[in-house]
């Protein structure tokens, strides 16, 4: 009985922690979709650029982790803007072309990273090493920091959108871009701003992902699948829905990792293309389940 309790406690704590990171991973992706109805398949690659930037700055330039983090966020912000101005702006009208173009960019980034770095899987150094005990569960301190930072970023984002003038301008544009243009809002500028924010959020998420999960040239896939599932499950652009969806996916993943019986149930060959990643599997399972039960997503409106 005690044993069961310990396992349950561990599952709860781990899923609460990892889900916050997933919510942050998906946040920029959700916003871009919510505001401009664009699915940015390079979102995971943005995270990867952030991860490699921090890693490179720390490993080769011998920067301290905080400066490396700042550089990663700055670079990803810039990447978001350049990506929108140089590419998305011109193809946005056609969803199919946008999907293909953003996916192609992700693959190009993957190839570039393979050329410049090895394909070895590594981990970014933690902000604070060591671990702490929460009741009977051992938790790596850095994950608590990632959890706190993720929630802080989400909270600041929410405050910005709902309180700041430009946040409201983004909301208005998301709700009706023609209405926005007709009150004199420069819709292009709003889109550029959202891409900058999305890039910055991806940079933050990328650094924590790198010190929690992994760094390698393929690391962009899981974050993209997570983001995609979260956007659909959460109800297409709803922030509240995204967070709930992130927690569903995180919980299922932790369940699959820690309970062999559940894992066996889902060990079909058809999931092998996802590698051994339970993140991918749980995202897709939640996605499929929600699409059956509530096709408009958890917090979606039926339009």
């Amino acid at each position: 009985m005690d044993q069961v309790f310990v396992i349950v406690e561990r599952i709860v704590i781990y899923s609460v922690l990892i889900s916050a990171l997933y919510a942050l991973v998906a946040l920029g992706f959700t916003m871009i979709f919510g505001v401009g109805r664009v699915l940015n398949l390079a979102h995971g690659a943005f995270l990867m650029v952030g991860a490699y930037t921090a890693w490179f700055a720390q490993q080769y330039l011998h920067w301290n982790l905080y400066s490396a983090f700042a550089l990663a966020v700055a670079l990803c912000t810039l990447l978001g803007v350049v990506f929108y101005q140089g590419l998305v702006r011109h193809v946005q009208r056609s969803p199919i072309v946008t999907l293909i173009a953003t996916l192609a960019c992700a693959l190009i980034i993957e190839e570039l990273i393979k050329i410049f770095f090895t394909t070895n899987t590594q981990l970014l150094a933690p902000f604070i090493s060591g671990s702490i005990e929460i009741h009977k569960t051992t938790v790596i301190t850095n994950r608590i920091i990632a959890f706190g930072a993720s929630w802080l970023a989400i909270l600041l984002f929410w405050l910005f959108v709902h309180r700041a003038r430009w946040g409201k301008v983004i909301l208005a544009t998301a709700q009706d871009h023609e209405g926005a243009a007709l009150v004199g809002i420069d819709v292009r500028r709003v889109y550029t701003l959202t891409w900058a924010i999305s890039g910055a959020l991806a940079g933050i998420a990328g650094v924590f992902f790198a010190s929690w999960v992994k760094i390698d040239p393929f690391m962009w896939r899981d974050p993209l699948i997570i983001s995609f599932a979260i956007v659909v499950v959460g109800g297409l652009g709803s922030l509240k829905g995204s967070i709930v969806a992130a927690y569903l996916i995180g919980l299922l993943e932790v369940l699959m990792t820690y309970s062999p019986s559940i894992r066996v149930c889902f060990s079909f060959r058809c999931f092998e293309f996802l590698g051994s990643s339970w993140v991918g599997v749980s995202s897709l399972l939640v996605l499929i389940a929600i699409l059956f039960i509530k096709p408009e997503g958890l917090f979606g409106r039926t339009e």
């Binding site: 409201k168 909301l171 208005a172 009706d176 023609e178 243009a181 007709l182 004199g184 809002i185 420069d186």
Partner: protein
């Protein structure tokens, strides 16, 4: 104030506006009437820069910019067909968003003016725009346009789908707005409504202006009577 000369507008190969010329003077209330698909919406969208067109458009003597943001900056404000409100924002936030172009303004006194014109909006202040009735949404759309302090107000079918009583409220509001010095260009299918307070009227049919005149002349015209005022 607004002068349009030989305007031609196309959607792909479809020629939707053909050599349209019209003018609106300071303080005027001008209506454009015409059946479905005549090109009324296209004309207003071209004026406000949402649609490209070939021809000369000028406002207060200067060429009209071809960018909606710059057109709004001049005080030409378009209250579009379909309203285009921000559905998940409150009535108040929708109105405040209407004042986006203004640098210095006192939100409370500006809101007060709108609430005087449409008292129902005050009661609905905190309600989401999407939850308003059609008539309330239309009042909000007009209110939001007014919050931008228009010199020239472009209105596209404000009566679409509204009950006669609400139409009357809106007609009276438009009269008041015009009396307060705002120039109005109204595109409308409902001819009695369009003629009610207008100073001058244009009739647009399949992209061509076929008649211009005063409401009295329009009411007396046989073609207009038969096609637009007869029957229901």
């Amino acid at each position: 104030m607004l002068v349009i000369e030989d305007l031609n507008v196309y959607y792909a190969k479809a020629h939707v506006l053909k050599n349209v010329s019209l003018r609106v003077s300071q303080g005027e209330f001008v209506s454009i009437i015409g059946p479905n698909g005549a090109g009324k919406t296209t004309l207003l969208r071209t004026i406000s820069g949402l649609k490209d067109g070939q021809g000369r458009l000028s406002f207060n003597g200067a060429p009209l910019p071809r960018d909606p943001v710059k057109v709004v900056q001049l005080g030409v404000i378009h209250c579009p067909e379909g309203r285009h409100l921000f559905p998940e924002m409150s009535v108040k936030d929708n109105l405040l968003m209407g004042a986006f172009r203004l640098k210095n303004f006192d939100p409370e006194s500006e809101l007060e003016k709108i609430y005087q014109l449409f008292p129902i909006l005050r009661e609905r202040e905190r309600q989401m725009a999407r939850t308003l009735s059609g008539g309330e949404q239309q009042m909000l759309a007009i209110g939001r346009a007014l919050m931008g302090r228009p010199e020239l107000l472009l209105l596209d079918e404000p009566t679409l789908g509204l009950a006669p009583i609400v139409r009357k409220t809106i007609a009276e509001a438009l009269k008041q707005i015009n009396d307060s010095g705002v120039t109005i260009l109204l595109a409308e299918q409902n001819v009695p409504f369009a003629l009610a307070h207008a100073h001058r009227v244009y009739l647009l049919e399949t992209g061509v202006i076929v008649k211009a005149g005063t409401p009295e002349e329009f009411r007396a015209d046989e073609h207009v009577q038969q096609v637009y005022l007869g029957g229901v």
